[in-house]
């Protein structure tokens, strides 16, 4: 897999906030169909790194290459337009709306009633929702139900569904399994595997080493803004990762 050109390539990026070095010369790569886990203690720079990739922060030094070309996103919208979607912990769902309405939020399709009156194309939204969620092996039966009636894992699936419906090539997920029960965590890991199978690249932040070892192809470890190591799960142990995270 590593022989092909990487989908996303981060080269020597640094970011400072005042005197604080949030990131110092960090590099990483992500290939299509690959899952990279970001591990690190609080304040290690994981969030700063994903924010730099997704256009929230601009880096002070270094460069980001996406699909072979250099990119410099001014806003998260620019990143999204290129196919880099970030799913934050709060998922950013409108709880009172259906799966379809959430997927299309802000970009709702229109149909014409009686040939002239423009109306929301609810049927089209529902059909697209069903199709998209089926890609994630989530089979939505109650298409009109508000997403507030869904479980945590299902809501995560809706957020991911929104990203892939708009053709995200890279999905960045911030603590996707936090605040979920064990069965729900398994479902989210299964979702990550299905994204990988579809040839998308996934970067995910997690504190849970078991989750990291379960789905990641590579683990990038950060500590105080510096990349302290990069390992493949088969060639390392939790102990080694923890040592890289905390030092010593």
């Amino acid at each position: 897999m590593t022989e092909t050109a990487p989908l996303l390539s981060v080269r020597n990026i640094s970011k400072r906030f005042g005197g604080v070095h949030a990131l110092e010369g960090v590099s990483m790569e992500l290939h299509a169909g690959e899952v990279v886990a970001l591990a690190g203690d609080n304040g290690a720079g994981k969030s700063t790194l994903i924010k730099a990739i997704s256009g929230v922060h601009r880096c002070d030094e270094g460069e980001i290459l996406f699909d072979g070309g250099r990119v410099d996103f001014a806003t998260p919208h620019d990143a999204r337009a290129c196919g880099i979607e970030t799913i934050y912990q709060d998922l950013a769902l409108a709880d009172n709306l259906s799966v379809g309405a959430n997927i299309f939020l802000g970009r709702e399709p229109k149909a014409r009633l009686f040939g002239f009156l423009p109306v929301l194309d609810r049927r089209g939204m529902a059909a697209a929702a069903k199709e998209t969620m089926a890609l994630l092996d989530f089979h939505v039966e109650r298409l009109e139900a508000p997403v507030s009636t869904f479980s945590g894992g299902q809501r995560q699936a809706v957020a991911i569904g929104r990203a892939i419906h708009w053709n995200a090539k890279v999905l960045i997920m911030d603590e996707p399994t936090a605040a979920l029960g064990v069965p729900e965590q398994r479902k989210v890991l299964a979702l990550i595997r299905s994204l990988k199978a579809q040839g998308r690249g996934v970067i995910f932040i997690s504190h849970n080493l078991a989750d990291i070892f379960a789905v990641a192809d590579r683990i990038v470890v950060l500590r105080r803004g510096i990349k302290t190591g990069e390992r493949r799960p088969g060639e390392t142990t939790s102990d080694e990762i923890v040592k890289l995270m905390v030092g010593g």
Binding site: H77, A92, A94, A101, L105, E108, L120, F138, H139, V140
Partner: protein
């Protein structure tokens, strides 16, 4: 493989929720039955099948319903507009002044003077609406405070423009709009019905409506989805003020006079209609159909209590009790909805 479906045992729950959603209509039917039985028992006459009573209740509902239409959008977006009553008063005074001036000083015919008057009433309402929207959207003033301030400003402005008294208009077209009928249906009721249809379309079938629900449920999600929430908020308060402006203009037409206090008692009624209609004051839910039912519930209570000869002050008590009951139903409905709401 996961299937998104409500687990067994939720069948009963969703029936309960359906009932809770339709509570305004059920309550309306209950009220009609009670008053009808009372009327037949006490007077041996029908209450609801009487065309005069129906007309009166419909006309009675016009102003509170118009205010409630705009208020529905604002409340769904998890805001509130406390200024609607005096925006209506301001519009009423300006409409009367404009119609009178156009007729007397400019010497226009009654028809163009009437149109100018109604138009001026609606247009003047844009001012408080835009200021509310600007305060709330751009200066991040809480809606409760921003519109409470505008309540005072619009009130003062209305009384100042009116010179502390009512503003009479003698214009036969004005009076016709306010009191005329087409096929025994009052013209103001027809205008209100058209407004209801338009607002229902706007809320349920357009992006504007969909975004209103989204903003009310999760403002940040709406922003991240690329919705211009500030512009949307401006439009919501402008819409609410426009409805109040129309209500004020129609008030002047009905009484051939503008009054600063035209909408004074209607603020509570407008919010009550929306809440009784099933909208949540926490935002994110509500429908125009529910608001219409809520407005009729209030009108029916007020008119019905007079009809059965109860002291008029009991109306306030009755409407207040219904509001509290509605909010209680709304809260238990949220608990039923799965406890996902933050308590």
């Amino acid at each position: 493989m996961t299937t998104i479906t409500r687990s067994a045992g939720n069948g009963g729950r969703s029936v309960l929720m359906r009932i809770a959603e339709l509570r305004a209509w059920l309550f309306l039917v209950l009220l009609i039955v009670v008053f009808e039985v009372w009327a037949r028992a006490a007077y041996g006459a029908t209450f609801i099948l009487n065309a005069y009573n129906l007309q009166s209740i419909a006309v009675f509902s016009v102003a509170p319903l118009l205010l409630a239409l705009g208020q529905t959008f604002v409340i769904i977006s998890s805001g509130i507009d406390l200024s609607v009553g005096f925006t209506m008063g301001l519009a009423s005074v300006v409409a009367a002044h404009a119609a009178a001036l156009a007729g007397d000083s400019l010497g226009l015919d009654a028809l163009p003077a009437m149109l100018l008057g109604l138009g001026a009433g609606v247009v003047i309402a844009f001012v408080p609406g835009l200021v509310n929207g600007w305060l709330i959207a751009h200066l991040r003033v809480p809606p409760f405070i921003g519109t409470l301030g505008m309540y005072g400003v619009a009130r003062g402005a209305a009384f100042l423009i009116a010179g502390g008294t009512t503003v009479p208009v003698s214009n036969e077209w004005f009076a016709t709009i306010g009191n005329g009928q087409i096929l025994r249906v009052p013209i103001v009721v027809i205008i209100t019905a058209l407004a209801v249809l338009g607002m229902h379309y706007l809320l349920s079938q357009t992006r504007f409506g969909q975004h209103t629900y989204a903003v009310g449920a999760n403002r940040n999600a709406a922003i991240r989805a690329g919705i211009d929430v500030k512009r949307h908020t401006m439009r919501l308060y402008l819409l609410s003020a426009t409805c109040a402006g129309l209500a004020g203009a129609l008030y002047s037409a009905r009484f051939s006079a503008g009054a600063a206090q035209a909408g004074e008692p209607l603020l509570l009624d407008s919010i009550a209609a929306v809440v009784i209609g099933g909208a949540s004051l926490f935002g994110g839910s509500g429908t125009i159909g529910g608001t219409v039912a809520g407005a009729f519930v209030i009108a029916l209570i007020q008119y019905g209590l007079v009809f059965i000869d109860v002291e008029p002050f009991w109306q306030f008590v009755a409407v207040g009790v219904v509001i509290i009951l509605s909010v209680l139903v709304d809260q238990s409905q949220r608990r039923l909805a799965g406890g996902r709401q933050d308590d």
